[in-house]
Structures are given as C-alpha cells and as structure tokens.
Symmetry: C2
Subunit: 354 residues, 2 copies
C-alpha cells in the first residue's frame, strides 16, 4: 500500500522541478536534488528545495527534464532505483513508448504526470512552493501502470496542492494540443507581428495583446521539443485553424457581417467552455433581488455595501421598468454567501425581494 | 484657449462612455448623459455618472457609441452644439471621412480619440472611474483639426488618468490592427477550437489558454463592426499570419526543429517589443551584486530580506563558480530604489560588491 513518506528525488531543478521540491519540503518530506547543471542544482538547494543526491534510497523519483530527455531519464531512474517514478513533462505518449521499449519489465512503476502550471520565466529562481496550488494536474494512467504507483503519484499531486485528474496518455496529449500547444503557436504568431512594428504603434499596446502574447515568451528550445513530440495531435488543429482563418479572411474581404459574426460567436462560446477558475466545476450561484431607487449613486451605494459586507458579486442583471421610480437589481452570488448578504443588506436598509 | 471646465456631454453609456463620465465626475466636472437605451442611461445615472441631458450648453461632447454609428452621431453633435467633439471608438479613419463628408465646415471641432482600455464585459455596470488609469489613449490628430480641439481632448485624457499619444487617424488604424484587432481574431480562433472538446480535456485548461482567449469573449456585434471598418489594415496582417502558419505546419510536419525554433524565437522577440507596463518607456535599472554563501536556504533568505526592505527585485542572475563556496548574485532593481536596498542589505549583514 503506497503512502507518500519520502524521500523524494527530483531530477532536473528548473522551474517545475524546483517548485515540486519546494512544495514537497513544505509538506515535510525529505527531498534530494539532481541536475546536470551544477549552477541550477546549487541555486535550487540555496532556495531550500533539498540536498544534492548521492545515491540514497528514495521512495519516489520526479523527473523534471526537457521532453527530449524524458524517456531516457525515466528509464535510468527505473534501472537505478526500485522507487516509483513519475515526470512532470508536457507530453505523455512519447516518453511512455520510449520507457516501454527499453525497460518493459519495470514500466509498471512509471506513471507520468503533468501539472497545468508554469511560467513564461524558467529556471529555479522562478520556482515557488505554491505554483501548483489549486491547479489541475494530469495523471497519465496507462494499461500497465501499478495501482500503487498511481496512488503514490496522486499523493504527490495532493501534497503539492494540485488537483489530480486521471487521463490516458493519448487523451492527455490530445487535450494539451488544444488547451496549451495550439494557444502557444497562435500567441507566437501574434507576437511575431509586433517585431517590426513602429515604436509609436506599439505604444498603443493594451492589456489584450499582452494577455494574448504572454505565453509566447516561453523558451523556444523547450517549445520546439514539446511541439514536435505532439505533432500528430497538433497538425489536425492547425488545419482547422487554417480553414477558419480562410473563412475569416473571405468574410472580412467581402464585408460579410453574417459569417464574421458566426466565427466571432464561436470564439465567445469557446471562452465559456473553459471550466471555472482552477479547473474546478462551475460553482453554484444564487440570485438575490434588491429594489434600488432611481437616484444617482444608488447602485454605487449598493455595490459599496456588498463590498463592505465582504461578499463577491459574481454577476448583475437589472430589470428596470421605465414607468417605475425603482429598479429591481438581481445580484448573483455564491450559494453559501447568499444568506449572509441577504441579512446584511437588509440590516443596512435595502429592500430585498425573493 | 481651451481649458476643460465642463459641462461634458457623454453620448452612449456603455462600458467606455460610463467610465469616461465617472472619471470626469471624479475630476469635479459636470456631466450630462445621453443614450438611446433608457435602461443604460438610468443605470449609468444610478452609478453616479451624471444627469440625463436635456439640451444644456456643453463645452465638450464625448461620443461613445458602436463604430457603425460613430460618424453620424459625431456629425449630429457638431450640428446640434458648438462644443468640441471627440469619440472613444476603436477606429479613426472611417468616422473622420464620414464627418468630413457631411459636416465639412465643422470638422475642425472634431478630434477623435481611443483609450486603450476596455473589458470583455460590456455595459454601464462594468464601468469604472479608474478604467483609464495609466493606459495609453490615442488622440487622432487630422489635418483640419483645430488646435483648441486637440488641446481640450488632451485635457480630457489627462482628467481621466490616461496617457495621451498623438497619431494620425491612418497610423492609429494600422497600429490597432496589429495590437488589438489581429489579437482578437486569433484569440477567437483558439477559443473556437474549445467548443466541441470533451469536458475532461477542457479540465486541463491552465492560465495560458485563459489569457490567450480572454478577449475573445467580447461582444461579436461590436467586433464585427470594428473588424469590417478596419479591413484594409487587417487583411495584410492576416496574409502574413497565414504565411507563417503554413511555415509552422511544414516545420512541424517534417520535424524540422531549426525553422520551428526561428518561428518561436520571432514570437519571443515580439513579446519583448511590447513597451513596459501602461505603455510607458522601460524603467532604468541598476544592478547590485551580493555574495551568497552556498548553503541551503541562503537565496531564500536574501529574497525575504529584500521583500522586508520593500524593494522589488525585477530580475536576478547568478554567477556561480563551482570551485567557490560563495556565489555572486546580481539583483536588478529600479535605479531610484537601488541605494536604499544596498544600504539596507548591508545593515542586515550581506556582503555587497560593486
């Protein structure tokens, strides 16, 4: 029966490896570190992520190296230790196939994983024990995986504050092609158009273009490995995008608003398909109805009161009959905050309807 | 000599119009509101944005209506008042041409503008007096613009907390095609690919895809107007993107890392071309060098000390000679904070080198 008690060996002390190590240390586990770069290793150790590894027995190995090296380093870890082995790489099918080819007898001890957290920065100095807090963390359960290995990797995810999600390696790779690799390519294409733009044009950059292009700052050497290792899933999506972009171009060129509106509406629907913050399910909401006098500043006073009461208003609708001097405002709040807001607004003299 | 003293008339009480009105009220100006939607007007008034307009004389009219209506509403304002008129629309050439055609005698009183601020939400309830704080705000100065009009619009921008930037209407439209309209299309294409994805795949959505797709949630009816009104500038960029996407596809399909790396590096360069936060110039930095003992936790202690001292570390480099027990850490901080950090770290026993 698996039970995460350490020691944990983290191989690769970049952003992800060092963050896993820091999170494990925070959880009270003994952590050893290994890295081909002595500078990274010393930096991670200097940050309190663990001690340099020197062959001590460990319970779990976490491989946090670039995609090109995943398969061979995981196989090394299976050969050199009898520990359970996981990794935190961005692709899951290719390394599994490599491990199964060279170490078929111990592939059951390997269960890959992938935390959906990162940064456009890299290296141990960008690491944080809280990087995975509340973030989805895929566990790529394959046919030959030992149940104990799956359980121990799940405990690692939980110790790091992540939200474990089980998928097959193939499903994982299809999912991240859509939610990570295609967005990266497109961000890169948008950012690339800024390179030769006049400075006074770039001065108009607002938050929108910053958000769209942020991830394009990621390390090209890492991303070319990720993208080529997941090319099968990605090419199909690129074809879809090329088709839609051709449609966009035709609609814009011909000033056809109908088709353009359909394409834009598809985008709106897509943003709504993304689950609530941190990958959790949408939270249940409740509506409160408040009568608001039609005087300047009354709505502002209502929102200020809700703020002081400490309840977050998730959405607002106003139902106003122009013939009446009072409007009915619908406030959407989380179910477990609704009663507190209802009572507190009532105490402040607001007229609540059910 | 222009001198913004009000009253200001805001036509259109959506997100932008109501935010301008709230910012003007905060600046102590009298504000009148006008909107075809009585619900929007009452909501904006309820938020304290101003009083309903009833023909009072005004000094400045701010037109904040969708692109399709900009030209005619600006022309109406020039005809109905002798005020200076601006607008806050996303495109500048087309409305100017429309105004010049129907009101050539008063086009000098019209100077369009465009704050680089917004939200994927819309309507007066999403408005805020601080929406424009520190944001670039283009002022589209055309050949026939009165100097007084340019000055008054500049004062409006400053009263709202924005950073005024003068461009010609044509330059503005080319700039926003690159920094706003193309990013919107691409965000929409990425978001569109999520619509039919299985729920367990979408559960892997991290911050990256959220950031890339955020602006795609914008109102399609508004965006189809913006895009078609700026089609000339946008089509050229779409062609560039299609070309690059074809190159990406070929490189991925053939597993050619060289060309793929070049395309990704172009994206990295693009993210660096975006000027510092809020459109200001990059701030000058100074380096401090600190000797850090090679013990676990020492770097963490250095960063904690810098945090307590209250100086933001903008970047860090570590120069570590593996033969020595001490590493030299370079801290980059804003010039005017460097001396305070140097003295304070010295007081805490750190060994600083120059």
């Amino acid at each position: 029966m698996a039970d995460l008690r350490g020691p944990v060996l983290v191989v690769g002390t970049g952003l992800l490896g060092t963050s896993v190590a820091l999170a494990c240390r925070r959880a009270g586990l003994e952590v050893y570190l290994k890295d081909a770069s002595s500078e990274h290793l010393r930096t991670a150790s200097g940050l309190g992520a663990g001690k340099a590894y020197d062959g001590q027995p460990v319970q779990l190995v976490v491989v946090a190296v670039p995609p090109d090296h995943l398969g061979s380093i995981v196989a090394d870890a299976l050969r050199d230790t009898d520990a359970i082995v996981t990794d935190v790489g961005s692709i899951k099918s290719q390394p599994l196939a490599q491990v199964a080819a060279v170490a078929p007898e111990s592939v059951g001890r390997y269960v890959g994983s992938h935390p959906m957290a990162g940064s456009e920065r890299s290296g141990p100095l960008a690491a944080s024990a809280t990087l995975f807090e509340g973030r989805p963390w895929a566990i790529a359960v394959h046919d030959q995986a030992d149940a104990d290995a799956v359980r121990l990797v799940t405990e690692l995810v939980e110790a790091c504050g992540g939200v474990p999600l089980q998928l097959t390696p193939q499903e994982h790779d299809q999912a991240v092609a859509r939610t990570s690799h295609l967005p990266h390519l497109m961000a890169s294409l948008v950012a690339g158009r800024l390179v030769d733009a006049p400075e006074e044009h770039l001065a108009l950059s607002g938050q929108g273009v910053r958000d769209v292009t942020r991830i394009a700052a990621g390390d090209p050497r890492l991303w070319q490995q990720i993208i080529t290792a997941n090319s099968a899933a990605l090419l199909g999506l690129i074809d879809e995008v090329q088709g839609r972009l051709t449609e966009f171009r035709a609609a814009i060129s011909a000033d056809e608003r109908g088709p353009l509106g359909v394409l834009l509406a598809e985008g709106v629907a897509g943003t709504r398909a993304i689950p609530g913050k941190h990958g959790g399910p949408p939270r249940p909401m409740r509506s409160l109805y408040v009568a608001v006098p039609d005087h300047p500043g009354e709505l502002a006073r209502l929102f200020a009161d809700a703020g002081e009461i400490g309840v977050n208003i998730e959405d607002v609708h106003i139902d106003h009959d122009p013939g009446r001097p009072v409007g009915l405002v619908e406030l959407l709040v989380e179910v477990d905050r609704a009663e507190h807001l209802r009572v507190s607004l009532g105490e402040r003299g607001w007229d609540l309807h059910s």
